[in-house]
């Protein structure tokens, strides 16, 4: 009898020891970790993927609405903002427009601020901006154009600023720039409470019918870089109360007959155009600019994916290398990570690619797709 009891006890103990190697039947929840300068957000479908491109891993996701074009990180608050429009029955019914804040560590929503105006619901990273760490600006079109200002310190929508004929929100100091249909860049200065103090316009430097600039722009540190559909590159900066535009330079100067130091003619590239969902990027620290390029077509191809990425040395404004996509692969978005030694990120038709920016050498593929790459820092 005693032997039988000892046998049963022994079996029970051995079963417990064997079970210790299995997971609990209910999974646990992880936190997202500490983001670095090499973390990015990829907007794909109704999801923002938070990706560590150094390690090549998706670290977490944020749920977005079908009308959320981009996110806006606020790293000193440890939050990521986005706006969303939500119908009660997904595509119809009562509508709620809200600015949503997510806690980065838990990738969970932690706040909502109702928006007074229907946001544009389309576009790219220029549709939502963090202004002076204090305000979030959101571009609206109803079809009247305006910008909603939200105070993210006091968590309240301050109001709406009318911006007829001008689109997007590109923050600079306590204000923001926006390209306008009359060929100018407008700058609106905000007060401490988020109301408009003043507005100024640059001289007209492009003709919207002949060669307009993209409504997408990238920061230069001192201002914003705008590129025309024909490939002219400009920088808009502030000077006193006014907006200054630099002399434009072209991405593809005539190469007919141009020879290298060995006397060999460069391949003709005059028919190549800039285009894509995120067609260019710039790193002031590394002195690099990257563009997505496709061959042929007219200006209307400005959103067409490319077959090559061109890299420019911004000291000389000369092209350093041409990166060709493999086979039928195309590229629609390009981004450089922050810092002196940035990584080049390409959103291709087969997923995210990470390259060394200075050489163009491919480092890895990451299994994530989307249409917008945004740095968290």
């Amino acid at each position: 009898m005693l032997q039988r009891k000892l046998l049963v006890l022994g079996l029970m103990l051995s079963c417990g020891a064997a079970n210790a190697q299995w997971d609990r039947i209910v999974g646990s929840v992880t936190s997202i970790g500490e983001p670095t300068e090499r973390w990015v957000s990829i907007r794909g479908g109704n999801t923002a993927y938070l990706v560590d491109v150094e390690e090549g891993e998706v670290k977490g996701t944020l749920p977005l609405s079908r009308f959320s074009p981009a996110v806006r990180p606020h790293m000193t608050q440890g939050k990521i903002y986005t706006y969303g429009s939500y119908y009660k029955r997904d595509v119809y019914g009562d509508l709620e427009n809200v600015l949503i804040s997510f806690d980065i560590e838990t990738a969970s929503p932690v706040g909502e601020i109702p928006l007074p105006v229907l946001p544009a619901g389309i576009g790219h990273s220029g549709m939502i901006a963090l202004i002076d760490e204090r305000f979030v600006g959101i571009w609206n079109i109803t079809p009247a154009m305006s910008v909603t200002i939200v105070d993210v310190i006091n968590n309240v929508a301050v109001g709406e600023i009318a911006t007829p004929g001008c689109a997007a929100v590109y923050p600079l100091g306590r204000g923001f720039m926006m390209p306008c249909g009359d060929g100018t860049i407008q700058y609106i200065t905000l007060s401490d409470t988020g109301t408009e103090v003043s507005r100024a316009r640059s001289p007209a430097f492009f003709d919207v019918m002949a060669d307009p600039v993209f409504d997408y722009a990238v920061p230069t540190g001192a201002g914003w870089m705008f590129v025309s559909l024909e490939g002219l590159v400009y920088e808009a900066t502030l000077n006193g109360g006014g907006v200054e535009i630099s002399e434009g330079w072209t991405l593809n100067p005539e190469t007919n007959g141009t020879k290298d130091v060995n006397g060999v003619e460069f391949a003709r590239d005059d028919s190549w155009r800039i285009g894509g969902r995120q067609a260019f990027t710039y790193s002031a620290e590394a002195g690099l600019m990257m563009t997505v390029m496709h061959e042929g077509g007219g200006q209307e191809t400005f959103e067409k994916p490319g077959k090559e990425v061109w890299a420019f040395n911004m000291t000389t404004k000369n092209r350093g290398y041409r990166l060709k996509m493999e086979g039928d692969q195309t590229v629609s978005a390009v981004q450089l990570t922050p810092g002196n030694d940035p990584l080049l990120l390409l959103m291709t038709s087969t997923g995210l690619q990470v390259h060394d920016a200075s050489t163009g050498r491919k480092i890895r593929d990451i299994n994530v797709s989307g249409n917008l790459i945004q740095n968290l820092f």
Binding site: V91, Y92, G93, P143, M145, M178, G298, E303
Partner: protein
């Protein structure tokens, strides 16, 4: 006094004379009670104007082609409206309503027409003329998804909205969920300056 001023003076004198004559005629042939009665009938009749059958695009569920605009009637057409190469789609970017239960002039059942649109100018190879095309989105349902088409000729950035197909053109409908896009012929291209 210049010729122009003399003409104006003469016009005012003529107007005075005719108004005075008309009032005297009315006073001589109409009693006060009769005048007030006719005025009352006129004012009551004004109230019926809003129910007359006029075009109210904002409330219409189906857009009808405004083919009389600029004399665009009975245009000669060839081609398959379910193919992106069809001549009206030169500025198209989106899903063709012709593949979703609608047509080029009518939104599919259950969706709503937007009352504001972007425009393009397309060449009709059948008669060799250019036409102004209005691309109106149909909204309020999830995207149809069939027959995607992005020719985008003349497309501009969003700060020039009348020529931008990147905008969610669901203005005027109760939902801005995009379903598909119409292609309405609204005029001859050569009589407009909206290229």
């Amino acid at each position: 006094m210049s010729d122009r001023e003399q003409l104006i003076q003469q016009l005012l004198k003529d107007l005075d004379a005719r108004t005075t004559g008309a009032i005297r005629f009315l006073a001589g042939h109409t009693s006060r009670r009769s005048f007030l009665g006719k005025l009352g009938v006129f004012m009551a009749g004004m109230g019926a104007f809003p129910v007359l059958p006029v075009l109210r695009e904002a409330n219409a569920q189906n857009v009808t082609p405004r083919q009389q605009v600029n004399g665009v009637a009975d245009i000669v057409e060839m081609g398959d409206p379910q193919q992106c190469e069809y001549w009206r789609y030169c500025g198209m970017s989106g899903t063709l309503c012709t593949c979703c239960g609608g047509s080029n002039t009518q939104c599919p059942a259950g969706s709503q027409t937007a009352t504001v649109a972007w425009v393009g100018t397309c060449h009709n190879p059948a008669d060799g003329r250019d036409y102004l095309i209005s691309y109106n989105d149909c909204c309020g349902k999830s995207s149809c998804g069939s027959c995607g088409c992005s020719r985008s000729e003349g497309d501009k950035p969003v700060y020039f909205p009348s020529k931008s197909n990147s905008i969610l053109w669901c203005f005027g409908s109760t939902s801005h969920a995009y379903h598909c896009t119409l292609a309405l012929v609204i005029g001859h291209g050569d009589s407009n300056s909206m290229r």
